[in-house]
């Protein structure tokens, strides 16, 4: 029965890896979309994720709104926050050197972290429990939290919708055009500002869904909760090939699986859990400097 045990443990870890990987993928998409269009690493993205968690916490635990109302409000507020950050912190610097934008992004990140600490205190808050989601169910010897199944389903549904938007709609086509050639897009009459706002809103909306699912699985909210996931999802986007949405999904899954499986197979290395992302990043970039699905950068002459 030793083999059987190992197999079921393995399957269980695969499901955990899939659900963690899908969460990373949802957040990584936000990095990759913004990079694709503005060539900017939006360092505030992890903190947008954190703010979404607080919106949901306040909705349910402070204002006692029903969960579904809270979820909708959270997603909308986060989209507004993302687009608002672009409007106030990045748009005025559109014509400035890219470094200024980057510094502005880091500034927004610090601002959100410290604002959250100041307003909500640095003490972790308990996110409301969803027993339906967290009470394990037993399937053929596996004990699974329903949330671990719900996460990948929601994530892949949203990614399908996103790919549809990008490939089949007007806004999506404009996004692809702007990411190829920003200046020409303007001359073809594309309203760049709307395209960029939509990009930030969509990326932030996905981060909000990510935050909601994250908090169901790991029910604690604190001002710095976005830092490590943000960093890892940025790495996921780079591994997959930054600027490529499918790449971000792939990168997220690779990261989620490796992290979970490493802890499962080498429990003594649990303390190095967060280092996995960086090790994978280094290995992949050594062999594929543009990421797995990234395109070769051709210098324009």
């Amino acid at each position: 029965m030793v083999v059987g045990m190992t197999l079921s443990t393995f399957l269980q870890q695969l499901i955990n890896g899939l659900s963690l990987g899908s969460l990373y993928a949802l957040i990584a998409i936000g990095y990759t979309m913004v990079y694709g269009i503005l060539k900017l690493i939006n360092f505030a993205h992890g903190d947008i994720f954190m703010m979404a968690a607080y919106f949901a916490y306040f909705g349910i635990s402070v204002f006692f709104l029903p969960w579904y109302v809270t979820f909708i409000i959270t997603i909308l507020l986060t989209m507004l926050l993302g687009a608002g950050i672009e409007r106030m912190a990045y748009r005025p610097l559109r014509e400035a050197p890219k470094t200024s934008l980057l510094i502005s992004a880091i500034g927004v990140s610090f601002l959100l972290e410290n604002l959250a600490t100041y307003l909500f205190s640095g003490k972790p808050q308990a996110f409301p429990e969803f027993p339906v989601m967290t009470t394990p169910i037993f399937v053929g010897g596996l004990s699974i939290q329903p949330v671990s199944i719900v996460i990948p389903i929601v994530a892949f549904f949203l990614m399908t919708v996103l790919l549809f938007i990008i490939n089949k709609t007007k806004v999506g086509m404009a996004m692809r055009a702007v990411s190829v050639d920003y200046d020409t897009a303007k001359l073809m009459g594309i309203k760049i500002d709307n395209v960029i706002s939509s990009t930030f809103a969509i990326g932030s909306g996905l981060a909000a869904v990510g935050a909601l699912l994250w908090c169901m699985k790991y029910p604690s909210v604190l001002p710095l909760m976005g830092v490590v996931p943000g960093l890892k999802c940025f790495i996921a986007a780079v591994i997959g090939g930054i600027g490529n949405v499918k790449g971000a999904v792939l990168g997220g899954l690779i990261l989620g699986f490796s992290e979970v499986l490493m802890v499962a197979f080498f429990p003594s290395l649990t303390g190095y859990r967060d280092a996995v992302a960086f090790i994978i990043l280094i290995i992949i970039l050594l062999f594929l400097p543009n990421g797995i699905l990234g395109k070769k950068q051709v210098e324009k002459v």
Partner: protein, 267 residues
Amino acid sequence: MSLLKTENVIMQFGGVIAVNDLNIDIKKGELAALIGPNGAGKTTAFNVITGVYTPTSGKVLFSPTDNGGVASEIDISGKRPDKITGLGIARTFQNIRLFSDLSVLENVLIATHLNINYSFLSAILRMPKARNGEREAKEKCEFLLERMGLIDLKDEKASSLPYGQQRHLEIARALATNPQLLLLDEPAAGMNPQETDELTDLIFKLKTDFDLTIFMIEHHMDLVMEISDHIYVLDFGCTIAKGNPNEIQNDPKVIEAYLGVDEDVED
């Protein structure tokens, strides 16, 4: 009646005056050409007209005709490029600038964005208004591709087309914005004599069929002399001559600055 007029336009970059005191006056329905040696400021002039640059001083006046057939003069200097495109000025580029990752059809479709109006939400939900709008846009674009001889290639990636066809695609994309004034930046660059002849015919036909006014930068003198109604000659940013092809060919200043210096320019 003037469609596009510039009044004393100066474009200065630091200490370099790229365009100095540009005064052009393009009448509705004519085909005007802008010629001059390399570095004379021709593309800069186009960039000022299309809103890429805000002129250091001077005015750019555009008089588009609205749906009711009434023309009103608007100062477009310093307006945003997408606004200017929306008013009815479209352009192509000297060094082809297609959206290389998009398909041929998508490259044209994207330029119709200004003219189809429906919300993001209705697009996602496939509401009838959005579907109709998209179908109309698609039909229009396929018609344009047909005109430019690219319809069989509509699903190819733009970057996979041969050079000459990429130039055609740029023109199709510009036409999709419903322009009244079409700016062509060296449309015949890199073409052989036969292709240039075909292009000459094409430009002429497009001008009539789409009721266009055309302003083009071109180095092929045969083409310029054959089809232009009016020619402006720039040298070091200054307009050294203007007039019809006959006047330009006989203008001593032009011969000295341009034609006389480089005999080869004729071929």
